[in-house]
Structures are given as structure tokens and as C-alpha cells.
């Protein structure tokens, strides 16, 4: 596969070193590595074939959407305004706190309190997902099939 496609392309020019020097393999391999490689690869391929031939049930297909649904339910419950029956009793809640927890609360700076106390429930809106369950499951199950360019961007070194 000799490359003759472009005479104008830049040539690596490192003074004092020929192309043959530069292209010589920089890495060593264990002795006899390539002689035993084909049988080793074929053995692994056969083993993987055996594993994938077993009828396996993919729990991720059930568990991952379940976690998602549970997370949505929990988030919804958390942000719902409390009803009369579930109105927390401030005194009881205070009594249940340890001295350490109360001290930690008292030590919070005003700026830190903002995120806890100054946000009104009414100001928070939850965006409705536009994805169907099937699309979410499909996305989660194809996690490994990441495009090469995405990988390059992510690993950028």
C-alpha cells in the first residue's frame, strides 16, 4: 500500500535521520507474540460466542428505566407543595435534630442559605420530557456504541 497520492504533502524532516530510521518500530513485543496470536484470538472469539449464545436476561433493560422512573417519582414528590396532613411540625423536626446538626446549620453563611431558603416552590418548574420510554431505553442500551468523533472529543489529549 505504497502512498504515491500527493507530491506536495509535507514530509517529516528531522535532520540527520532517514525516513527508514524514523519508521523503524519503536516498540518491542514479547518473543513469539505474533506466532501465538491467531490461536489466542480465535480462542477468545469462540469463548465470546459461547457466552453470547446463552439466552441471558438483560436486567439493565428493566433496572435502568426503573431507576429513572423512581428518580422522577421522588423528584415530583419532593417538589410538590405539602398538603395539610403532611405539614411538618417545626418543633418536632427541631427536636429530632442533634446538637451537631443544629450547630452546622447555625454556621452556614447567608450566601449558603440562599440556595436552601430563598427559592420559592412556585418558581421551580419541571420540564416535561419529550422522549418516549422506548427512546430513553434505546439511548441507555446503546451507551457503548459511541461514535469515534465523540470519543476523540471526550478523550482530547
Amino acid at each position: 500500500m505504497q502512498n504515491t497520492e500527493n507530491h506536495n504533502e509535507p514530509k517529516l524532516n528531522l535532520e540527520g535521520f532517514s525516513e527508514a530510521d524514523l519508521k523503524r518500530k519503536a516498540f518491542k513485543t514479547p518473543e513469539g507474540y505474533f506466532e501465538n496470536l491467531t490461536p489466542r484470538i480465535m480462542e477468545n472469539v469462540r469463548a465470546s460466542e459461547h457466552v453470547s449464545a446463552k439466552p441471558t436476561f438483560n436486567w439493565n433493560r428493566i433496572l435502568i428505566p426503573s431507576f429513572g422512573i423512581a428518580a422522577i417519582a421522588l423528584t415530583t414528590w419532593f417538589f410538590l407543595p405539602p398538603t395539610e396532613n403532611t405539614e411538618p411540625n417545626f418543633d418536632m423536626a427541631l427536636a429530632s435534630l442533634s446538637v451537631e446538626e443544629l450547630t452546622e446549620y447555625a454556621d452556614l453563611q447567608p450566601a449558603e442559605l440562599v440556595s436552601y431558603e430563598l427559592v420559592s416552590y412556585n418558581e421551580i418548574t419541571i420540564e416535561e420530557s419529550t422522549f418516549s420510554d422506548e427512546e430513553i431505553i434505546e439511548y441507555l442500551s446503546t451507551e457503548d456504541e459511541i461514535e469515534l468523533n465523540t470519543l476523540i472529543d471526550e478523550i482530547e489529549i
Binding site: 500500500m1 509535507p10 530510521d21 524514523l22 519503536a26 491467531t38 468523533n149 470519543l151
Partner: protein, 183 residues
């Protein structure tokens, strides 16, 4: 387009009675090229071996779906590149969290690696290549060491030929500057 030998190999692979023999032939034909391609990305021999094994396992599982509008070897290169980059990504997550980047770690590994040839210029060249951004590194390795055409590299990376030419040009200039600084 797939060459005649590969076409014959694929035909035999699709026949269950000759499937394993055909795949063995494929492994035998491409293992060494793919190994060196992967080794230049992950540097360490054991890592390269793991990545290579996974590459062929994936190739075996997906070869039925291979469309012959590209060459078989560029399709294999694509899987190998994907596997090698995925491996580096996992390695970064597991080991290199506290380091600035993977290339620094790979470069250090290169100096201490007992499996690296003692030739100073080759070591410097590899270190220079490791300073390049990932895509330039891939393009340089495939163009310079594997002597692939831009069209073939484009099939592997999914990048336009024009962009690849620019990448290669920048890579060559950066490598020359790095090596000159070292000697």
C-alpha cells in the same frame, strides 16, 4: 471498495460451514497491522493485546453486518481505533483522574517501558506524537507509519480529506519543532 480476496473471505464467512476458517484467515491477515495501530495509541503492550482481542471479538460479532461499500481493513481499523480510544477513556477515569492529561502519563510510561526500543530518536518521535491532539495523532500514525491514503483514513475517522490533510500538515510541523527542541 472491498478487494477480491476480502470479498471471497466474506463470502466464506457467511457460509456457516466455513465461517471459522474464514475468520481465522481474516485474523491472520490483519492482526499485525492492527496490533501496531493500537499499540501506537495505547503504548503499553498488554493494553494493546487486550484492545486487539476485543477488536476481533467485535469484528466477529458484526462482520455479517459489514457493508462492502468500504474496505474491510478500514472497517477493522475503525473498530480498533474505537476500542483503543474507549480503553484510554476508561483508563483516564480509573487511573489518571489526578493528572492533567493522558498523554503526559503515556509519555512517562514510554520512557520507563522496558518494551520500548532504546533508540533515542524513535523515543523522541513517539513522545512528540503524544503531544499532538488525539485526532492529529491518529491521522499522523495512519499516514506516516501505515502509509494509508487520505481517502482510507477518512473511512476510518469519518473526517473529510481536506481536514485530514490539514491535520497531517500541522502534525508534521509540531513534531519537527518538538524534536528539534530536544536535540
Amino acid at each position: 471498495m472491498t478487494d477480491d480476496q476480502d470479498k471471497d473471505l466474506l463470502k466464506r464467512f457467511r457460509d456457516p460451514s466455513s465461517r471459522n476458517m474464514a475468520f481465522r484467515e481474516l485474523v491472520n491477515r490483519y492482526q499485525e497491522r492492527l496490533y501496531w495501530h493500537v499499540r501506537r495509541i495505547v503504548i503499553d503492550h498488554d493494553d494493546a493485546d487486550d484492545v486487539l482481542q476485543n477488536t476481533f471479538i467485535k469484528a466477529f460479532k458484526n462482520l455479517d453486518r459489514f457493508r462492502e461499500d468500504s474496505q474491510l481493513f478500514t472497517w477493522l481499523y475503525r473498530i480498533a481505533t474505537n476500542e483503543a480510544l474507549t480503553f484510554l477513556k476508561k483508563k483516564r477515569k480509573n487511573i489518571f483522574v489526578s493528572l492533567d492529561d493522558v498523554s503526559y502519563a503515556l509519555s512517562s510510561q514510554l520512557e520507563s517501558d522496558t518494551e520500548v526500543s532504546g533508540d533515542a530518536i524513535q523515543l523522541k518521535l513517539q513522545q512528540a506524537i503524544l503531544t499532538l491532539p488525539t485526532k492529529q495523532r491518529l491521522v499522523f500514525n495512519m499516514k506516516y507509519f501505515d502509509e494509508m491514503k487520505y481517502e482510507e483514513i477518512a473511512e476510518v475517522t469519518g473526517t473529510s480529506v481536506g481536514a485530514l490533510k490539514a491535520s497531517y500538515h500541522h502534525a508534521v510541523k509540531k513534531i519537527e519543532a518538538f524534536v528539534k527542541q530536544q536535540f
